[in-house]
């Protein structure tokens, strides 16, 4: 209806998307610049002076390893966040007990602690555990996992809780009258119905872990260095010239991932559960 009335809105969306994408386009452009001398490799060239895929071919293995490590880490974090988030969301939404609001607040607490505080606190706690003869968590996958999990779980809980709140309890009752046990109801009705929330929670957790720098800077080890830390160090010291190429690959990969999710549940259904259950 009266399309021109919606125009300012669409223009604003365009502006914001352009704002988000401008630096990404620069990075993509710079990734194909065929700079040839060592000195010219320390900064981004845009617009590119030519077209070359040489930086795609010369990505150091350490970066690949770190990217792979980050993907693994993010995947485990997402899986674990789901394992925690699912029962927590069910308990929060369906449980009726005194102090429910306190419990809800507690689950949100990790998002209220400044990330740098979290990073330092985990680092010190890990050393403390080690000093007591416990496992050496600093610099280990387990340590990073715990730090990321701490940060990611609130999102997952929020996302699943939101879709659970929208869930029509009549569906469960219908299944019960049809002879399904409580377990079967969960499996055949409830879980499929909160799937968008679950996917949303997984995506959030994955994204949080995959882009986290602040905590990782403190908890990373020599062979357990998440990808964003690698990029951060590269930018804050002497730049690895293939970083733009690698970033482009990550960007394209994320497009594939999102496309797959979109096919599975539909982005909109997924974001409807949006990690924001209030």
């Amino acid at each position: 209806m009266r399309r021109w009335r919606a125009l300012p809105g669409y223009a604003w969306v365009g502006f914001v998307v352009a704002f988000i994408y401008a630096p990404i386009l620069v990075v993509i452009g710079a990734s194909v610049d065929p700079g040839y001398r060592i000195s010219t490799r320390s900064y981004l060239v845009f617009p590119p002076t030519g077209f070359s895929l040489r930086w795609y071919a010369s990505i150091p293995s350490s970066f690949w390893q770190s990217l792979w490590f980050s993907l693994e880490l993010a995947a485990i974090v997402a899986a674990a966040a789901l394992l925690i988030g699912l029962p927590a969301a069910f308990g929060l939404v369906r449980g009726r007990f005194p102090g429910r609001f306190a419990v809800d607040a507690l689950f949100r607490a990790p998002l209220q602690i400044p990330v740098i505080v979290t990073g330092v606190a985990f680092l010190q706690s890990f050393y403390f555990i080690a000093s007591l003869g416990g496992p050496a968590l600093q610099g280990s996958l387990a340590g990073l996992f715990l730090g990321h999990l701490f940060l990611a779980t609130p999102y997952t809980i929020g996302s699943i809780a939101a879709s659970l709140q929208r869930f029509n309890p009549r569906l469960e009752e219908a299944a019960l009258t049809l002879g399904a046990s409580r377990l079967r109801v969960m499996w055949r009705v409830t879980l499929p119905m909160v799937m968008p929330g679950i996917y949303g929670g997984l995506l959030y957790a994955f994204l949080v872990s995959f882009t986290e720098v602040t905590i990782s800077v403190f908890l990373a080890g020599t062979s357990t260095k998440p990808f964003p830390v690698m990029i951060f160090e590269s930018v804050t010291s002497d730049m690895e010239p293939s970083v733009p190429a690698l970033s482009t690959i990550v960007f394209l990969g994320s497009m594939l991932l999102i496309y797959a999710m979109q096919r599975l549940v539909g982005m909109e259904a997924l974001l409807r559960s949006g990690g924001n259950s209030t």
Partner: protein
């Protein structure tokens, strides 16, 4: 039957409590002992770290700067993303999901590298400056590295993607019917926004804004890169205290101060909105 659902909470609750309580305890412990240099702390209880943290103008200014930055950026992010999220909820679903997907994808790219891209765009010889010079609007270049503007831009990039997603999930719960009801009873588009959409989305928006605020209060990566060593936010000061001073007592005290201030703001903001809602 409902009581049993509560039981599901126990394992996640225990885990969260452990991760939260244990780490914070270990961390805050060192803040009440004197720093002996090289990471060693004394054993006698003292408040000198806290006294320094709350009296030294360096840290006070750092806190002021950080609060201004975080609040300013959250406000700016809201201004930018709220209309976007709104337009997305009222768009044909297919287009909306495409745009949302695009926004999500952009979040996967490290902020650190995006920052370099921005530096190029806004540099003295960069695209934006050239464009403005061509328009004859601005003579001097827009400096991003080492300026507040740059840090704000960096923070925006950090916040926008998540904010759009969260606001979308809030706004899409507001029925179009209510907008139409407001419109037919004489409210212009702007008034509909002001009297219906904003009040109804307030709790959800506040929740999202607080999450972003907290995130920004604890972020030092962007300020480190884009601040060019000039923008000393509180997290940057904490990081420097740790890495350059190696003063754990003071760093813990500073962190504790940051934590308390952030928590107070969270509680106050939530209480303010909840009171309105309870009244409602």
């Amino acid at each position: 039957m409902t009581a049993r659902w509560g039981l599901f909470l126990l394992p996640p609750l225990a885990l969260t409590l452990l991760m939260l309580g244990f780490t914070q305890f270990i961390f805050l412990k060192s803040s009440v002992f004197a720093d002996l240099g090289l990471g060693e702390t004394g054993t006698a209880f003292t408040l000198e770290n806290y006294i320094e943290a709350v009296t030294d103008p360096l840290y006070l200014n750092g806190m002021k700067l950080t609060l201004e930055l975080a609040i300013g950026v959250v406000a700016l992010t809201l201004v930018m993303t709220y209309p976007v999220a709104y337009v997305l909820t009222r768009m044909p679903a297919r287009t909306a999901s495409l745009l949302l997907a695009a926004i999500v994808c952009s979040s996967f790219v490290s902020v650190a590298i995006k920052i370099l891209g921005m530096v190029i765009i806004f540099a003295g010889d960069g695209l934006v400056s050239r464009f403005f010079r061509w328009l004859g609007v601005i003579e001097t270049s827009m400096q991003l590295l080492g300026t507040m503007t740059g840090v704000v831009f960096g923070y925006l990039h950090l916040a926008i993607g998540f904010m759009v997603m969260m606001l979308f999930s809030v706004l899409q719960t507001i029925p179009v019917k209510l907008e139409e009801a407001a419109q037919i009873h004489g409210a212009s588009r702007l008034r509909v926004f002001w009297r219906v959409i904003i009040p109804l989305s307030l709790p959800g928006v506040l929740n999202a804004a607080l999450i972003q605020f907290n995130l920004l209060m604890g972020a030092f990566v962007t300020a480190t890169i884009l601040g060019g060593g000039k923008v000393l936010t509180f997290p940057v000061l904490i990081q420097r205290t740790l890495v350059m001073f190696n003063d754990y007592g003071l760093a813990s005290a500073l962190s504790a101060v940051l934590l308390v201030i952030v928590l107070i703001i969270n509680i106050a903001a939530t209480a303010a909105v909840t009171r309105r809602r309870v009244a409602a």
